[in-house]
């Protein structure tokens, strides 16, 4: 135990000296700043900026309603449609309204992207406007409730946490392990009474501590409190163990830091993208469960956004711990064989 502590403190001191700490603090800081630049939800966010073209003939009732809704719709008039397109491309407006060619009395909406938040907001505003003007019966769907709690900032939190875990697991740890191999530091350490297992445990602890510090810093900056602290901590613990062990294994597969960095990125990106973007693609949704990172991302998403609890996620944390143990054992075997040392 004494040797493990000495090695762990030495590893943390190295991380401090070689600026690794700056990296793990910079990433949450970057996330915090980025999240604060996201569009706020609420009235201000729902206000849309549209363009009307002067020489087009719009239905008077529609124009009247739009002009009356100044709180929700900001209208700009342009000479021709090309001017409107230019403004749209410059992101100065959200959409251009033109009379519909085929349906008299209707409008066509031109936006940058059909499935964007701006397009949805314009449609929602105009639907409400039309209902108010015509006094139609209520919509069949009169409100939308989301299982996910919190705002846009919180929605992205599981992705950022996953990114931090993978960054430390797949980039920082393999490089540190490879550095100790490359500089023959491991050779020097193993001439002391420390056992291979003690060195490995110290490295896993280093990875877990770095991940905890980074995640904690992210939560403190953003004032994000998890819904179920215990369940959340268990998954961070399991995930940090799993990916720290994976990182150490990757480090053992490399002779030097440069190759560890390359191999790390090769593993980092595939693990990050499908897991974090599986919600937006059916194909990625099918592929993502095969990646270990998904077994961390899904529970995090569930706990942070959907009020999920540990009891219903036994497979996920057992998977993470099982994979971590396997990687730990493989690292031990490579270390015993002095692989690429």
């Amino acid at each position: 135990m004494r040797n493990i502590l000495i090695l762990t403190f030495n590893d943390l001191a190295i991380a401090f000296r070689n600026k690794t700490f700056l990296l793990i603090l910079f990433v949450p800081l970057f996330v915090f700043v980025s999240l604060n630049l996201l569009d706020e939800s609420g009235a201000e966010a729902s206000k849309v900026r549209i363009v009307l073209v002067q020489h087009y003939a719009y239905a008077p009732a529609i124009i009247q309603s739009i002009m009356a809704a100044k709180q929700h719709i900001e209208v700009t008039c342009v000479q021709n449609e090309q001017d409107g397109v230019r403004l749209l491309k410059e992101r100065q407006i959200d959409g251009i309204l033109t009379p519909h060619d085929e349906a008299t009395g209707s409008l066509a909406l031109l936006v940058l992207k059909k499935d964007s938040i701006a397009a949805i907001t314009i449609m929602q505003n105009f639907s409400a406007l039309q209902k108010a003007a015509e006094g139609n019966a209520p919509d069949w769907i009169s409100s939308i409730k989301s299982l996910h709690r919190g705002d846009v900032q919180r929605e992205t939190l599981p992705t950022w946490v996953l990114m931090l875990v993978l960054l430390i697991g797949f980039i920082i740890l393999p490089m540190q392990v490879a550095e100790e191999k490359e500089k023959k530091l491991l050779l020097a350490l193993l001439q002391t009474p420390i056992h291979e297992l003690q060195w490995l445990i110290a490295k896993v602890i280093l990875g877990m501590v770095l991940i905890f510090i980074a995640v904690l810093f992210l939560h403190l900056l953003g004032s994000f409190g998890p819904l179920h602290l215990f369940d959340y901590s268990i998954f961070i613990l399991a995930g940090s163990f799993c990916f720290s062990a994976c990182g150490i294994f990757l480090g053992f597969l490399c002779r030097n830091q440069a190759s560890a960095r390359t191999l790390g990125v090769i593993f980092y990106l595939p693990h990050l993208l499908p897991a974090a973007m599986s919600d937006v693609s059916l194909k990625l949704t099918a592929v993502a469960p095969f990646l270990p990172s998904y077994q961390l991302y899904k529970p995090l998403q569930s706990i942070l956004l959907e009020d999920g609890q540990l009891a219903s996620m036994s497979f996920d944390w057992l998977y993470l711990i099982g994979l971590g143990l396997l990687m730990f054992y493989l690292s031990y075997l490579l270390m015993k064989r002095r692989w690429l040392m």
Binding site: N3, I6, L7, N10, A13, I14, R17, N18, K183, K184, L185, L187, A188, L189, L190, Q191, T192, P193, I194, H195, R338, M341
Partner: protein, 226 residues
Amino acid sequence: MQLEILNLARFYDQQRGLAPTSFTVSKGEMIAIVGHNGAGKSTLLKVLANWINPDAGIAMFDGIDLKNRAALVGKVGFIPEVPNLFDVFSVEYNLRLFAALTHTPFLRVEEILDDFNLLAFRKNRIQTLSKGLQQRVNIGRALLSDPSLLLLDEPTSGLDFEMTKEIHRLLKTMHEAGKTILFTSHRPEEIKSLATRIMVLHQSRLIFDGPGEAYFRSEIHENLYA
């Protein structure tokens, strides 16, 4: 005999490694291992340091199998050609770290700093020191646990005249203190001034094992450095 080697072998491929080799070493000997690059010198030292496992043969030190790392910790010190120290930390930090790991009193760190003329550099980071100074720290680190067998892989490689002289002085002091020393070298004058016995490895095989005078008179020396 302090060190007994019987048919020790390590195979990398057909060209490199160490063919089955046998020899014995008495306590207090200073042996130079000589040979071209790739002859197997470093491989032999790494096997003796228990850094790599042999593919065949037996190596015993004071009656203990060299594979028994736990039993030999602190008794064998290996110093590679390139100093293997935590270069972002100071001289003192490195020595104290290894002292803590080898359960050596910190008083010994002060002794090493004094013996190796490192007191003035104790707070300097390793990366700011010259290679000669780094090698001094490296040898000092290996001596923390007072090992009786020292293995040095080209200890003066890349050092200037003054630093080479300093390392020679340290090696002679350790030899006089009764330590058994095996070192590899490409420098005839170094071998002549330090070694009490010379072993020549050629193409992974031990082709000469004898006193320095015999070696320098032999054709092997002429062929090696012709």
